[in-house]
Symmetry: D2
Subunit: 311 residues, 4 copies
């Protein structure tokens, strides 16, 4: 039944599935791997799933543009949760294989730069070839087509392999960020440590518009967490921006900034306010921009209109 189904970017055994399983509600959902980000999201749009779980950016590889583009176009979707998953690889082999036996390895192309230095040091003569996904690489090892696959350690059991080496990662702190996306609905209550996402289209032929847009945030003390440009498809030089900022739409500084964007931009798509996954790193709200400050200012304004501004 769709209300209990979550789609995700498959196949089984990838980091996406591992990240999805960190969500408590995943335990009670039917988890359905699909072949692409658009497929996973379209199932939600079609009402065949309550949510779709997809990667959105990797700290080494950058944005997953398929996700960005799906969020920015087509029937609207909304983000309800984010998950950060540290990415480290295991070298998965058939039981009994030793490092000296490994002549050929495979992985998803995105994994390759993240294990390149480890390979140069430990498997200098091994040949690498691309697989459709890290899990698919594991399957190919199971089938005997390669000696080893770089994949998440959690994929070993699924394919009858074992991790020969664990915790392989060239870049310290490689992390992938995933989103749980659903059909648009009522924004859930703020937790005090939230993030708000949106897509903003700049007005045509207004070269200073990006600066103006950033000032809508700056003047209200809102920190940006991410800004990604994507082509609008309207010809070279036309971009929209996916923006994540600190705070929740129900906070006044955030809602006022978004209304400001709405007034200066031809199109703004609100993508959701949801709890931040990095719960330890919040900056304090700038003095003068708390909800209490906004309320006080609104009260003062009402008094001013009545001639009692200084009472």
């Amino acid at each position: 039944m769709s209300a209990t189904r979550y789609t995700y970017l498959g196949p089984e055994g990838t980091f996406t599935e591992a990240a999805l399983r960190t969500l408590p509600e995943a335990a009670t959902r039917e988890l359905v791997p699909l072949a692409s980000v658009p497929a996973a999201l379209d199932a939600v749009r079609a009402g065949e799933a309550a949510g779709a779980f997809v990667p959105v950016e990797n700290s080494v590889e950058g944005a997953v543009t398929a996700t960005s583009d799906e969020l920015a176009s087509g029937a609207p979707l909304m983000i309800y949760r984010e998950v950060l998953l540290p990415i480290t690889f295991a070298l998965l082999v058939r039981p009994g294989t030793s490092l000296a036996d490994v002549k050929t390895v495979t992985s998803h192309p995105v994994a390759q730069p993240q294990v390149r230095r480890w390979m140069a040091a430990n498997l200098p003569d091994a040949q690498w070839e691309a697989a459709a996904s890290n899990a698919d690489g594991a399957r190919l090892v199971q089938e005997g087509r390669f000696d080893g696959a770089f994949a998440g350690e959690f994929a070993a059991a699924l394919y009858g392999l074992e991790p020969l080496v664990s915790d392989i990662h060239d870049a310290a702190n490689a992390t992938t960020r995933f989103l749980l996306v659903g059909r648009p609905g009522r924004v859930s209550s703020p937790t005090g440590l939230d993030k708000t996402s949106m897509v903003v289209w700049l007005p045509d032929d207004h070269p200073g518009a990006l600066l103006e847009l950033l000032q809508e945030f700056a003047v209200r003390g809102i920190n940006l967490m991410r800004i990604e440009s994507r082509p609008t498809g309207e010809g070279m030089g036309n971009y929209c921006f996916l923006i994540d900022c600190e705070g929740h739409l129900s906070e006044r500084r955030v809602s006022e900034a978004l209304m400001g964007l709405k007034r200066i931009c031809p199109q703004v798509r609100f993508l959701g306010s949801y709890p931040r996954a990095d719960r330890g790193s919040q900056r304090p709200v700038r003095p003068g921009t708390t909800d209490a400050d906004f309320s006080e200012a609104a009260d003062w304004l009402s008094r001013c209109l009545d001639g009692r501004g200084e009472l």
Copy 2:
């Protein structure tokens, strides 16, 4: 009775009185000249007058700092009207005096630079001395202490003098701006061409605060019409700013900007929204900052909170 009394900066026969008489309601008020701006305003504060009419700036001489300082401190007052009066002087003399007879002239010191070039050309040998006001100068001519007084032509009759030369002014377009000030009350309705005045104190030890303050206006497309710095009396380097901007407090762009100031500044004193006297020169409101734009954005925000932002 105080409700029908307006005080003004006297004495009778000055430009202030002439400007006051351009207000239709002046015809039905008791007009009481007082000796100083503080005296005129204190009468309003004390409930002895319904309004006080005082000069606030001259396009040649600049701000009337007594007015600025009174508006910025003491019991709050509010501005209800402004009047712009072109300033040209007449040389007033006792009947029968010819230009060749004029050896000594007088005027308020503020008038002197505005007639200096005319004097150099037409009365190069005449001696000028200061009077307490232009009208007082006329009185001194009446008493025979000077041969001529530079004053408004309207002052002639009051002192039994006649204008020997009219329309004297070194600077083209010399204008004085006057304010009708009362006790704080409900802000009157917008006329579509209004001005809003306020006093803003900057936060201590925050060198970028003036820029931030101006950005609260700029980000909402509000043009400033005047900015005047005044010392706060808290030691050298501490200023407050008297600001006039376009628009009315009941317009959303203006009210949001003022609430922004209120949030970042330790003190903001709203001085009123009132019709502009220069009714021909309005700039169009920047696209995206009309009240309709604000309403539309607020509606959109409500829909976003309900998950219907794109409907």
Copy 3:
């Protein structure tokens, strides 16, 4: 010999080769297709080629992140030329094939969304599969593995195919932008219509830095043409920005802005100033920001230091 060799993103018969051949100097160079953007650029770094020609962004698909990342890291490179190529596809088939015969088609995955609507209308039942490149798709048609390939029309002859349908493109104005990249060298002279590219790393833990960075351009009237964020590899939330702006490094407004970036950012990589390919669309330089304005201001400053600022 390396001085006459240009590498490019192969294989032969792709849009990249077609774009490269629009450069006059390509006629006198040895053009060497390589399998990846890093391979093409590394040949330049190693001194094995004088230039590398690679795609950098597509108006539908966005940035070619391999190119962005190569420009931002590794041994420095410099951009010397850009080329804009309108992208339209032909359906290439073996001679004698009719539209009704086409049951299977292939192309590079990037091409697929750009022909999706055409396929739905004209080949609703055909199966699409991915090829390693559009040219490789043509080769697979030549080998009989598919009935048709979406590729540039120019690829037909190379593989003994013919264009059954031409000028296929879902998005009007789909364009790809290519760069000719070489080892760093003296910047060539301005043409009056140039573009400057750079990579800028933001200071850590300074949330307002992006705004400050944009203000370095805005305050000098420089329009941005493109801004792309890329992860630095230093963990989630750390980005660098690839920026293209109007103007040439030898213009004062541009050099002063870049020096400004250099002073506020921990790292700035200058990527070159080169002629704009879209030669018809320049905005006029903002008054006060021409080289003549800068010279005049510098002369004035020298005079000020000598006490002759007003002479």
Copy 4:
């Protein structure tokens, strides 16, 4: 001889003279009191004096507009030194007078608000009248026309009076700032703790110009110390701004900002760079804006033009 003569705003015995005498060089100059700020400055313009010493602002009363207007118009002048003098008043009386004997007092009108509260507490029944200067008030006491004069304690001896009460001041920290002004000349060397003064005219009909002007400072990390608006005399609503900022014209951040102003404003008058009188209160220069940072950035730029930006 003019080279050794300093004029100042007289008469003798005022705070201006007291402030002037704090300058070491005053001991070797002929000090000539003149009746007005314009007279003192015109003597310098005419070559009759090497310098003129005049008040420019008071922390209670604000700008001395005569000084502002003289600096902004007429033949150019330059500021070479500033002096800050704490202002406290003494009640000067003829020898033998007791507080109970004081029925009438006098002072310059500017002094009156600064002693008002003291009078209310200590001389509630005394009558105050205006004098042309505080020193002139002392003279009037000497002549027997008043019982007491509020003036600087240093004026007592000059007029044969004695201070009955000292250290009278309603506002704590009341201070007056004075300037030593001369004909324009070579700017003296920076001391490491300097201030730069200028007059800036805004472009007509460009409502955002004040913000742009402030951004020229902000983008280079320069703190403003004072901004004063003055009418240009070109009609209501046209202002120029007298600005004091931190730093010396020979510092790159300052010179670049002034060149920026010069490029966007129709007129900029440089008024001098000179040592700050408040030597204890400097803010650190913002990182990235020291002369060393500017030099480094310029070196980098030269290397970039040569293709060696990263060496």
